[in-house]
């Protein structure tokens, strides 16, 4: 009898010892190819900030200081209540936490985070702008965002920022003659503003637009300084690269590591969310559903045409770039079914901090996002690039756990 018990105890002890050994002694094994991918996603792999040849003031600190003030100044709006920061709140990773943004009116798309966009050749979900400065000039004159006009704004610069402006951009023209520079006046859809704009001389319009463009260039200089911070994921990769598996395994939990493995492997996320900012800055149809009652949204199909036609694009007279510096615009893909309802993947850094998700806030949680990827539904227009994943609930939760490790350590 005692012998039986002894044997049984022996078996149990060996078993538990075996499992314990298996669980604790072996740090995570990554193949060389996987380590290469981990390194490419690591924030330390982010190359230096690329210069923006279309903005000669992009790296001018005085321009950035002025741009920062403009970014937070609500006077630059039709109701005196809206600034860029209204929808891009630094306390909320430079977004607003809403499915559709709220300015003077309501937008048809979700506000995007700004960190790291200096690395992107295209701005907006549909890439209809090809630089940060050209982008900034969009919301300022959008009827549902800031709602004002460029003539109103350049007068505000004269009244409030004259010295700072002139220190960077040179003499500010005199816009005080209300008959030459009526308010509101801009090439916008509002009829009164458009009529006033048409009534101005070509030279006066040009003078106003030049100052307006410089506002955009100052704001862009500020935005270039907005970057995501180091995350637990980055610390993990550092340990892996240093071959310190034991430390690495104290930084991320088993679930987070399993999620990372899925993210770069079976779940194919790095097809589109690659590089240190977790975006390829290209455009993809991922079959994200249409929201009823919103106007038709064809994504990049329209965005590419708008970028070509944009009055402030890289090849425009307001750009500081030589034509040979505009290869993104010159060799842009402008047609084909692949552009239909194709959108730019946002950076996934800090993503867990900024629900809801997708271009019109289609999903309220990361659970919703992951079930979408798992099921890969047919696209409402064009064709989805996603394939069915067949992942289990446990695996989807592991990917979510991994996405949470991408939050900046404050």
């Amino acid at each position: 009898m005692t012998k039986r018990y002894l044997i049984l105890t022996g078996i149990l002890l060996t078993l538990s010892a075996g499992i314990l050994f298996g669980c604790s002694a072996q740090p995570t094994a990554w193949t060389d190819a996987e380590v290469e991918i981990l390194q490419s996603l690591w924030i330390g792999s982010l190359p230096g900030l690329p210069t923006d040849p279309s903005n000669q003031y992009g790296d001018n600190p005085q321009a950035a200081a002025l741009g920062e003030k403009l970014f937070f100044d609500t006077r630059f709006s039709s109701n005196g209540e809206v600034a860029c920061a209204t929808c891009h709140d630094p306390e909320k990773n430079f977004q607003d936490g809403l499915p559709r943004a709220q300015g003077v009116g309501t937008t048809n798309r979700r506000a995007m985070p700004i960190a790291g966009t200096a690395y992107s050749p295209w701005m907006f979900w549909d890439g209809r702008k090809d630089s940060q400065w050209a982008q900034a000039l969009g919301p300022l004159e959008s009827a549902v965002e800031h709602g004002g006009t460029r003539t109103q704004y350049v007068k505000l610069i004269g009244a409030n920022y004259k010295d700072e402006y002139e220190a960077v951009f040179g003499a500010l023209p005199d816009f005080s003659d209300a008959s030459r520079f009526p308010e509101p006046a801009a090439p916008v859809s509002d009829e009164a503003a458009a009529a006033n704009w048409e009534a101005m001389t070509a030279e006066d319009r040009e003078a106003v637009t030049r100052v307006y463009v410089n506002m955009g260039k100052a704001i862009a200089a500020y935005e270039r300084t907005i970057m995501p911070g180091e995350s637990r994921f980055d610390q993990y990769v550092e340990s892996v690269l240093a071959n310190d598996g034991a430390t690495a395994d104290t930084i991320l939990s088993d679930d987070e590591i399993a999620g990372l493995k899925l993210f770069i492997g079976a779940a194919n996320c790095t097809r589109c969310h690659n590089g240190a900012l977790f975006t390829d800055n290209d455009f993809h149809n991922t079959g994200v559903p249409v929201i009823e009652n919103l106007p038709e949204d064809t994504g990049r199909a329209l965005g590419a045409q708008q970028a070509l036609a944009d009055e402030f694009n890289c090849l425009s007279v307001y750009s500081d770039a030589a034509p040979e510096d505009c290869s993104e615009l010159k060799f842009m893909l402008t047609e084909g079914e692949a552009l239909e309802r194709a959108y730019k993947p946002p950076s996934l850094r800090d993503v867990a901090q900024r629900a809801p998700y997708m271009h019109a806030g289609q999903f309220t949680t990361l659970q919703g996002v992951l079930s979408h990827y798992n099921e890969a539904p047919a696209a409402p227009m064009g064709h989805t690039e996603l394939e069915l994943l067949h992942l289990s609930e446990v695996q989807l939760n592991q990917i979510i756990a991994f996405l949470e490790t991408l939050s900046s350590i404050k």
């Binding site: 499992i19 190819a33 290469e36 492997g265 194919n268 390829d280 084909g336």
Partner: protein, 169 residues
């Protein structure tokens, strides 16, 4: 064999079986991180290393499909990095090695395994002479197998060539 040795042998065998079976059964709980890299390659058909389709001809010099031209390329970026806009110089010769000038060349391509085309619209922008052509606007934004195809027409002869590239990342 006395009964004591028998018990010891049986115990050892049972312990080993239980251990191995237990480990395999508990694998999903441990997660893939306890698999040997070789094993995880079998488990995971999408693992990055399996993209390197082994029988691909990735040479930078090829004969066109009907043998009319010998074509080679030299990338401004070597190796090609993900997401970087760059240019190539394409060199076109006749099958017997004479440089082909004044050719009309169209560019196309994509990722056969993903079913999508190129992210940009690259073009031949300059005939550099001596059979060399400047191809601008190339960009590869995903890691894996890419095809870049050239349709070449010169002196009334049209032919096609496809280059395979494995872009890292």
């Amino acid at each position: 064999m006395n009964s004591q040795t028998k018990t010891i042998v049986i115990t050892t065998v049972v312990t080993v079986i239980v251990l191995v079976a237990g480990f395999i059964l508990l694998m999903p709980v441990f997660g893939p991180r306890f698999m040997h890299p070789i094993m995880s390659q079998f488990m995971d058909g999408n693992s990055p290393s399996s993209v390197t389709a082994s029988d691909l001809d990735t040479s930078a010099e090829r004969l066109t499909n009907n043998g009319a031209f010998k074509v080679s390329f030299k990338s401004e970026l070597d190796p090609i990095t993900l997401g970087s806009m760059h240019s190539w110089v394409l060199h076109v010769e006749t099958a017997d090695g004479q440089p082909v000038e004044g050719a009309t060349i169209l560019v196309d391509g994509g990722m056969p395994e993903h079913g999508h085309g190129l992210p940009t619209a690259p073009q031949v922008t300059q005939d550099l002479g001596n059979g060399d052509y400047l191809v601008e606007g190339l960009k590869f934004q995903m890691g894996g197998w890419w095809e870049v195809k050239f349709n070449i027409t010169a002196d009334g002869t049209e032919d096609n060539v496809t280059f395979n590239l494995i872009v890292g990342g």
